[in-house]
């Protein structure tokens, strides 16, 4: 049976970038972008990726949406796509992306390739969660999420390898939510929105340029076992978001919120998905440790996706009780750039600077620097 490749293009993705709008979330921004002369480029990016798949033309079925959402790009690259669904307005919206993703899921495609930015990734995440293996072609203004290949070429190559059965590892990669309104005003407010399942092979994923000899999942498990082995009943453990930190919860058979902050004590769950106030109430007058992992591709340890762990909490816990965990893949993806903090409190950021022993495996540490 032929393998099925789903393709969704968010045709308006990236249009705000070249006209300095920092994104096209919402109809107002799009209108403004077009007024400023923005040209669609997601389709060009998709064509770059599809060219790397063109040798599989006769071996796979390409399923896509009409016109600018995939059909045009597919045909121009020599594919004979199966076109499903219909567009309901002159301009495409988030609803179109979501509907397309759901229909692709119902058709049981082997891989869903989508072109867009963080907003598109969030729409896909809303629509199908982790039901399909997906891969992003970076075509947005903001591509902070870890679900995108480093460039369209690699997206195409990786998709081809996956469809040929040459890639066996699937990981849960972070989808980030950037508040575009705030971003335009020069503030970066990033939340961890969810996870999508992506294939990984060697250097094809953004922030994963270096192949690792062992799987991400196994690496996360050895880190979790190291942490659990050193846990002491004296301390309350504040577990930040991230698949690496949450593996600790899984190993302890505890319930957890994949996007939130949880607290454990005596290897039992004390609180789940807590906000700053709740965390402070729990750790008040107690000894505590914070376990965090860098979120997204930039290497932020604090201030991206874990703002609940506020400056007050970090100060209370103290620098020596901060435990940073990171898989080797994640740390290597920084290419020697320091880890970063942006707690919103400059004085604290300054104090947090310096070297830390990052837990990167069972009984394995890498001494690595935090900068601002």
């Amino acid at each position: 049976m032929k393998r099925k490749l789903g393709l969704i293009i968010n045709p308006i993705a990236g249009m705000g970038g070249r006209v300095g709008l920092k994104g096209t979330d919402g109809p107002e921004a799009l209108k403004r972008a077009i007024e400023l002369g923005a040209q669609p480029w997601a389709e060009d990016r998709t064509r770059e990726a599809l060219r790397k798949l063109s040798h599989l033309r006769d071996e796979i079925e390409l399923v896509t949406y009409p016109g600018s959402m995939g059909e045009n790009a597919a045909i121009s690259c020599g594919f004979s796509p199966i076109v499903i669904g219909e567009l309901r307005g002159e301009r495409t919206t988030a609803e179109d992306t979501k509907r397309a993703a759901r229909e692709m899921r119902d058709l049981d495609v082997d891989l869903l390739l989508f072109a867009g930015g963080d907003g598109t990734a969030r729409d896909i995440c809303d629509a199908i969660g982790q039901d399909l293996v997906v891969l992003g072609i970076p075509a947005g203004v903001k591509v902070y999420s870890a679900v995108f290949a480093i460039n369209p070429l690699y997206a195409g190559e990786l998709a081809a390898l996956y469809l040929k059965g040459r890639v066996s590892e699937i990981i849960e990669a972070e989808v980030l939510d950037i508040d575009e309104e705030a971003f335009r005003k020069g503030k970066l407010s990033i939340k961890l929105y969810g996870y999508l399942r992506i294939p990984v092979k060697r250097e094809y994923i953004s922030g994963a340029k270096s192949p690792t000899p062992i799987s991400e999942k196994y690496n996360q498990e050895e880190i979790a076992i190291d942490i659990i082995e050193q846990m002491s009943d004296e301390y309350y453990y504040i577990i930040g978001p991230g698949t690496t930190t949450k593996t600790i919860m899984k190993k302890l058979n505890l319930d957890y919120n994949p996007l939130g902050v949880d607290i454990i004590h005596n290897r039992k769950l004390i609180g789940k998905d807590l906000n700053e106030k709740q965390i402070l109430e729990i750790i008040n007058n107690k000894k505590a440790k914070i376990i965090v992992t860098p979120i997204g591709g930039q290497g932020y340890v604090f201030g991206r996706g874990n703002q609940q762990i506020s400056p007050t909490i970090i100060r209370y816990v103290g620098r020596t009780n901060i435990i940073i965990v990171a898989t080797r893949r994640k740390l290597n993806s920084l290419h020697g750039r320091p880890l970063l903090v942006d707690t919103g409190d400059e004085e604290l950021d300054e104090q947090l600077k310096g070297y830390y022993k990052i837990i990167t495996g069972y009984h394995e540490r890498i001494v690595y620097r935090i900068s601002r």
Binding site: S168, S210, T212, P213, G336, Y355, E364, V367
Partner: protein, 520 residues
């Protein structure tokens, strides 16, 4: 070639489609048919087996391949045509491995009956010559390193590292600190066995990450050391060819907290005769006789990782050591805190002999010359690559002077053309050359490592570089051509994925049979 254009070789690798030797086995086939024992002989000496204790007699024959002699010869000669090695190609692309020339005279010495016909259980009095060679090689290596005593027992580099970690552990245990001191510090760019051996021994391993200049930061070391530090083991220069000139400050910091410092000098080709381990503050260390000292690698052995220690660690060495009482060489088993034996007997003697002969033939000045020429050759190759090979760069470009090797990167080539360092390797094979990606520790994108050593002439180096340049030019002109390489080799693109699946890979025939059955 003189004065003329360097020729790009028209090469084609042999293909024999040769099965592995176990698959060639035919039941009952024999290499040598031994004549029947005559009756008179059997009456005189018995059947030769029943004198053995019952429990030692095999109930089943060993599962070895059964093959006629001529088929064995064909098999191995065919395989020999399907390999590349130091004596058949200009083997400078196997960086970190120090693929230098192994003088044939040393092979002849190692094959002489005085070497091949002695047995390690012979009485000391009958092997004085062999013991003298072992003892004197120890003296030479002491001179080169500044250490006080060497053992040649470990059968290779990683084995030597394991011996070193065992000595560190025994030292702290004797001082009542065995439990407390449970961490070993190394650098991320040190040889991976520097981290692996302590992990096997149960230590926590702390890696120092390289800074922008390729060297670890002294502040990072200060963060790493504590009362839990058992030791520090480091390769210097690391596989980038970058030497850490502040190494004495590093060892001082480790000593201040009571740790032991070990020097991985498996490859000492850039500093042999120039820098002594003890002057850098090291308490122990090792040399690979099969790298720096010109013994062949032997395809993963047999080899020798010669471990040397300072005075305070002498009492922990493996037994026996070889000593001289002024008249006679003898084996000394009386070492008070010895970690015991790490391998049978005294080391792989032919390897020890070759290293001894190599040092004797060079002398002190010759050894320094080895390091100087190796460094000169390397800096020549680096300059040519930076100036003439498009798309190539050096890792940590801030540090320009390199010792005996350089880890390069084809990151730009990949960005420009989509061609990776692995593609280049496969294309180089089309011209009879080897190039190595050396990915560990996965922080340098599209890596490759070249180590010219002192053995190759400028013409040799130019031939290699001309071919590398041609492949890269081809990548810019016709990337698909390079990506689809090789064309002149029988084995094409290998899928590495099964190597990550424990259900599929097998490193022994027995494991293969076990897993193969599962697939059926």
């Amino acid at each position: 070639m003189k004065g003329g254009k360097i020729k790009i070789r028209d090469f084609h690798e042999a293909k024999w489609d040769e099965p592995i030797i176990f698959e060639l086995s035919r039941k009952g086939e024999r290499g040598i048919l031994v004549p029947e024992v005559e009756k008179e002989i059997e009456e005189a000496v018995g059947d030769g087996i029943s004198v053995l204790p019952e429990h030692m007699i095999r109930k089943e024959y060993p599962a070895l391949p059964e093959i006629a002699q001529v088929r064995v010869l064909r098999h191995f000669l065919r395989l020999s045509q399907e390999t590349l090695g130091a004596t058949i190609n200009i083997d400078i692309g196997q960086g970190t491995c120090t693929m230098k020339y192994n003088p044939i005279i040393n092979e002849i010495l190692a094959k002489s009956p005085e070497v091949t016909e002695i047995h390690p259980l012979q009485d000391e009095d009958t092997v004085q010559g062999a013991l003298e060679i072992i003892y004197k090689l120890d003296l030479f290596l002491r001179e080169i390193s500044g250490f006080s005593k060497f053992t040649f027992q470990p059968g290779g580099g990683s084995h030597a590292i394991f011996t070193i970690i065992s000595i560190i552990e025994a030292y702290h245990r004797l001082n009542g600190e065995g439990e407390k001191r449970n961490e070993i510090i190394t650098t991320l760019l040190s040889h991976p066995s520097n981290a692996a051996a302590p992990a096997v021994k149960g230590y926590k391993v702390i890696n120092l990450y390289p800074e922008e200049d390729g060297r670890p930061d002294i502040e990072a070391l200060k963060e790493a050391v504590s009362e839990h530090t058992a030791g520090f083991i480091v390769t210097n220069p690391e596989d980038t060819g970058i030497f850490n000139p502040r190494i004495k400050e590093f060892t001082d910091i480790v000593h201040e907290v009571g740790g032991i410092c070990a020097y991985d000098q498996a490859n000492a080709n850039g500093i042999i005769g120039i820098v002594r381990a003890v002057d850098c503050g090291f308490d122990l260390g090792f040399f690979n006789l099969h790298k720096t000292f010109s013994s062949p690698h032997g395809c993963g052995g047999p080899a020798v990782g010669a471990v040397g220690v300072t005075e305070r660690l002498k009492d922990f060495l493996p037994v026996p050591t070889v000593e001289f009482d002024g008249k006679k060489y003898y084996l000394n088993y009386d070492i008070p805190h010895s970690i015991g034996k790490v391998r049978e007997f005294y080391g792989v003697f032919p390897v020890i002999l070759r290293a001894y002969a190599w040092i004797r033939s060079l002398g002190a000045e010759g050894i320094k010359e080895v390091a100087r020429v190796a460094v000169l050759n390397n800096n020549y190759v680096m300059r040519k690559i930076l100036e003439e090979v498009k798309g190539a760069s050096i890792s940590f470009p801030k540090t320009r002077h390199r010792l005996e090797q350089v880890r390069y990167s084809f990151e730009k080539l990949k960005k420009d053309t989509g061609v990776t360092s692995e593609d280049v390797i496969r294309r180089m094979a089309d011209f009879g050359f080897h190039l190595w990606t050396s990915h560990h520790p996965w922080i340098i994108p599209e890596p490759f490592t070249i180590e010219p050593t002192e053995s190759y002439s400028k013409d040799d180096l130019d031939e290699y570089l001309t071919t590398l340049k041609k492949v890269v030019e081809e990548a810019y002109r016709d990337p698909e051509k390079v990506k689809n390489a090789p064309y002149n080799c029988p084995i094409h693109n290998i899928d590495h994925e099964p190597l990550e699946d424990p259900d599929k890979w097998a490193i022994t025939w027995r494991a293969y049979l076990k897993k193969h059955k599962k697939w059926e």
